[in-house]
């Protein structure tokens, strides 16, 4: 029994494997469950995240692509204004247009069925480079980013190094 969601996820999986964007790898944890993916994102160059590799898990709803997936960094927190301390990513492309709890996002940046895993991961990569501190998920990190940028960058670099086991 293959549903629309499964088929579409197969398409995205195949597309990402045959034609992956720079610095991004993603695919289902097991092909028995297309609704649970793992992704790896390289830290963007020229940012304190450079050199890091960040693992995340994506969970897709059964009515995907009508509703967006959720994304959570795993294995060590990512110190970033738009990432909750538990790793959950808070970014407008992952929010359905219906509800805007934060009242700041343009509808055009929000989830739509024509978005894709690839676009999400690219957005997350650029989010790492350019935090949006209008509605931070991690208030401490946002404050640090705004007021003590060098401390923030040092902390991020430390986290990256720790994440690599150095």
């Amino acid at each position: 029994m293959s549903t629309v969601a499964q088929k579409r996820l197969f398409h995205e999986y195949k597309n990402l494997s045959t034609n992956p964007p720079d610095g991004i790898t993603a695919g289902p944890v097991t092909e028995d469950d297309m609704f649970h993916w793992e992704a790896l994102i390289e830290g963007p160059q020229g940012t304190p995240f450079e050199g890091g590799v960040f693992a995340a898990e994506l969970k897709f709803p059964k009515d995907y692509p009508l509703s967006p997936p959720t994304m959570k960094f795993v294995g060590g927190g990512v110190w970033h204004p738009n990432v909750y301390p538990n790793g959950t990513v808070c970014i407008s492309i992952l929010h359905p247009p219906g509800d805007d709890p934060n009242h700041y996002e343009h509808a055009s940046e929000r989830w739509s069925p024509i978005q894709s895993v690839e676009k999400i991961l690219i957005s997350v990569m650029s989010m790492l480079a350019e935090p949006n501190d209008e509605s931070p998920a991690n208030v401490e990190a946002a404050k640090m980013w705004r007021e003590r940028r060098s401390d923030y960058e040092r902390k991020v670099r430390d986290e990256v190094r720790k994440g690599l086991g150095l």
């Binding site: 029994m1 549903t3 629309v4 969601a5 088929k7 579409r8 197969f10 398409h11 995205e12 999986y13 195949k14 597309n15 494997s17 045959t18 034609n19 790898t25 993603a26 695919g27 289902p28 944890v29 097991t30 092909e31 028995d32 469950d33 297309m34 609704f35 649970h36 793992e38 992704a39 790896l40 390289e42 050199g51 890091g52 590799v53 693992a55 969970k59 709803p61 059964k62 009515d63 692509p65 009508l66 247009p97 219906g98 509808a107 055009s108 739509s112 069925p113 024509i114 670099r157 190094r161 690599l164 086991g165 150095l166």
Partner: protein
């Protein structure tokens, strides 16, 4: 599920000489389901989607997924041109892809054999047009088969064609168009004259049914089913809604939100089917509704972790393997018996040699048991994709370790 990588996709063209077909194929696919357009319709903002895809989007959000303009499903219009493009492309796809992939393997073999050294790409493409001129014997057979297939297909054309013999006027109660000489019913002539291009009726070989505007004569054959109207659910009481679902012939159990979702899904399935050139039967639609019921409706598991199909992170492999040890032993024994039998029947002389290899296979199997129970059940699944992020991670980490410069 093992067909993941057999799923036709626009990326199939990427590593062929025809990589420029990748964007063409993408353009013929729906942006919502990523499949070829199925009953394409166009929105008032001029975006095209599968009828069912856009109906589902509109009933959840009321907006076009591409540009977020508000739209209503009543305003959707069929997009025949796109449907024809998709059908034509899908017809051509397998043979073009085969040709595109061929140079890497077969041409080389042929060069080896000293035949067809200069089979240029141009000529191969010509073969697609069923031109029977000077093509190598093998290809010709193939293209002839294609032609034959096409000729058998267009049985849907209802217009009587007599362009072959203009003198002959069949006594079929039809009249011919004064411009193009097609024969049709008397009352259809005026309507036809409005759009008649003057081209003579095309020869049979080109008339893939869908390439022609649907002739008026065939329309009355299957009267299009009536569309279901949208319901303002807030105006209906539970009992009325339940009765409505019953009248429609769909399940009417469950709490109210489920009833509404089920009705919406049914309405979308039904109305999308009304857009189809070849509508499905109600029974098929009911089966589709049943799939919906099991995945997203009343029979779905809210957690999403369908029982047993996924290995949880905290899965206790050791306990599992001890609990089911006897089962695994039996499976391994069976598999060994079968492979032994196979070896014996196919190459009896090789049996002694093979028996040395058997233990290796069995060791591998046993080693796999405790760590990866799932995989044992589906040994045919291509698992190369399953753990590809991990090796990548290892590589990346190594790379990073090498290049990382500790600041300060």
């Amino acid at each position: 599920m093992e067909k993941a990588f057999n799923l036709p996709d626009s990326t199939d063209w990427l590593d062929t000489p025809l990589s420029l077909l990748t964007p063409l194929e993408s353009a013929l696919r729906c942006q919502v389901c990523k499949d070829f357009f199925n009953n394409p319709v166009i929105t008032s903002c001029s975006h095209t989607f599968c009828s069912l895809c856009i109906r589902r989007c509109l009933s959840t959000e009321g907006k076009c997924p591409a540009c977020r303009t508000s739209d209503q499903e009543l305003k959707l219009r069929r997009n025949w041109a796109v449907q024809e493009l998709v059908e034509a492309f899908q017809n051509a796809r397998p043979s073009v892809l085969q040709l595109a992939r061929r140079p890497a393997t077969e041409d080389w073999e042929e060069t080896e054999a000293g035949t067809e050294k200069h089979a240029s790409k141009k000529r191969k493409l010509d073969e697609q047009d069923c031109s029977n001129t000077k093509v190598p014997e093998r290809r010709q057979t193939r293209s002839r088969t294609n032609c034959a297939e096409r000729q058998t297909e267009p049985a849907t054309m209802e217009v009587v064609e007599d362009s072959q013999d203009e003198e002959y006027v069949p006594e079929d109660g039809l009249v011919s168009c004064p411009i193009c000489n097609r024969r049709m019913k008397n009352e259809a002539v005026f309507q036809h004259l409005d759009m008649c291009t003057g081209d003579p009726a095309p020869p049979k070989i080109k008339s893939l049914g869908s390439l022609q505007p649907m002739p008026p004569a065939s329309r009355k054959l299957n009267k299009p089913p009536e569309r279901l109207p949208t319901i303002n659910y807030s105006l209906l009481k539970d009992t009325v809604l339940r009765k409505k679902l019953k009248d429609l012939g769909i399940p009417n159990w469950g709490p109210r939100p489920l009833l509404q979702r089920r009705h919406t899904e049914w309405m979308n399935l039904w109305n999308a089917n009304c857009d189809s050139k070849t509508p499905k039967s109600k029974r098929e639609l009911l089966q589709e509704l049943d799939v919906w019921e099991r995945t997203q409706g009343g029979h779905s598991h809210p957690t999403g972790e369908s029982a047993g199909s996924v290995m949880r992170k905290d899965f206790d492999a050791t306990a599992w393997s001890t609990n089911h040890e006897s089962d695994f032993k039996r499976l391994i024994a069976n598999a060994r018996k079968r492979s032994d039998a196979l070896v014996r029947t196919t190459i009896p002389s090789a049996a002694p040699a093979e028996s040395q290899e058997a233990p290796t296979a069995e060791q591998t199997a046993e080693a796999a048991v405790p760590t990866n129970v799932q995989k044992l059940e589906q040994p045919l699944v291509d698992l190369t994709g399953t753990d590809f992020p991990k090796p990548q991670l290892a590589q990346d980490v190594e790379k990073s370790e090498r290049t990382y410069v500790i600041p300060g």
